[in-house]
């Protein structure tokens, strides 16, 4: 009977404590539902976002992908002044071609527009970088008449 009396005296406290516990559990439940599971794994952010950013498809296949098939062009390029220029610097993003070389063919490049991007004379470019005054240099003759893009020195020969 002593216990009953005890409860009778402290009942309002227990009821209040029970409300408090229920509110706390509700907070935990809601928090568990709305906070993403990976939040806080590495810091104050959603760790799963890292993998989401990393899952983006690649557009530029990378030089190694080109080397796998185009060793003939690569040999020519390595012998000339464009040895350090990656294929996709001129040919653009080619991951689709690398994945399916049979159906996806890279577009033919227009040397008239392409070469001058780097080699048109400008005082802003380093003096040591090869530059030409476009009008005076060729008077409209296209670049590849004399310079083969993969190995651009005039005496380099070759068909590409």
């Amino acid at each position: 009977m002593g216990g009953m009396n005890h409860f009778k005296d402290a009942g309002h406290l227990y009821r209040f404590a029970a409300l408090f516990v229920i509110a706390f559990l509700a907070f935990l439940a809601i928090r568990g539902y709305v906070v993403p599971p990976s939040f806080g794994k590495y810091g104050h952010y959603r760790a799963a976002a890292i993998a989401e950013v990393a899952s983006r498809p690649v557009q530029y296949a990378g030089h190694e992908a080109c080397e796998a098939c185009h060793s003939d062009v690569l040999d020519m390029k390595n012998a000339g002044k464009h040895a350090h220029v990656n294929c996709e610097a001129c040919h653009g993003a080619q991951s689709q071609h690398a994945a399916d070389p049979g159906t996806v063919t890279p577009a033919k490049l227009d040397t008239a527009a392409l070469c001058v991007r780097c080699h048109a004379a400008s005082a802003a470019r380093a003096k040591t970088f090869p530059q030409v005054n476009v009008e005076k240099h060729s008077s409209g003759v296209s670049c590849e008449t004399c310079h083969k893009p993969h190995s651009p020195a005039i005496d380099a020969g070759g068909a590409k």
Partner: protein, 243 residues
Amino acid sequence: MTLSRRHFLILLPAAAVAWKSVLAGSPESAPNYQMSDHWWGMLIDIPKCIGCGNCVRACKAENDVPDGFFRTWVERYHVTDENMVNPEVISPDGGKEGFPAAKEDAGKYFFVPKLCNHCADSPCTQVCPVGATFVTPDGVVLADQKYCLGCAYCVQACPYGCRYIHPEKKVVDKCTLCYHRITKGLTTACAESCPTGARQLIDLKNPKDPIHEFLKTHSVQVLKPQMATGAKVYYNDLDGSVR
């Protein structure tokens, strides 16, 4: 064992949390890629840059960057003898189609490619109210576009102007240092397409990376060092007039 209603109610939220993490699984990553083995940055060799705009175009193609916005861009400085403090700076369409020819005259010209500096102590990550932008364990500043509210605090906080609100998604967008490429062993799209090697991806945690020898033997700076952002885009031979 019998489970009382009281115990069941106590266990319910814990079970819900546990089930959520089971559903989420562990983050997918490329095979053999360990975030703890890398600390990424970039080296920009100013004297090598010819302002062709290849990097800007490559970035747009690789990352589907909307017109008029840039994750990377190129500026051309013209510093004259009389005006060292306020040099003329141009960047037509971010340098995407190159630059008009510069005439030989007084002063000097040079190009400064810019991108997110992937700061180790980044102001942008500190101001985000919801934890939608952060530095990864391998040192890349990323934005969580699913979590971002689009409040643009980070756009204002970035001292380098490297962030923008995507015009269609209405959330923040920025350079990821081609995180989807570097985690697969490729270099960034801008470095891949740079014809002169003016941009190089660097891994400061890799003892074999040539960057360590380069930093010992060259005059290398970061942008706005006084802001102590821990910027990891290193500029070789950077002129003092660049802000």
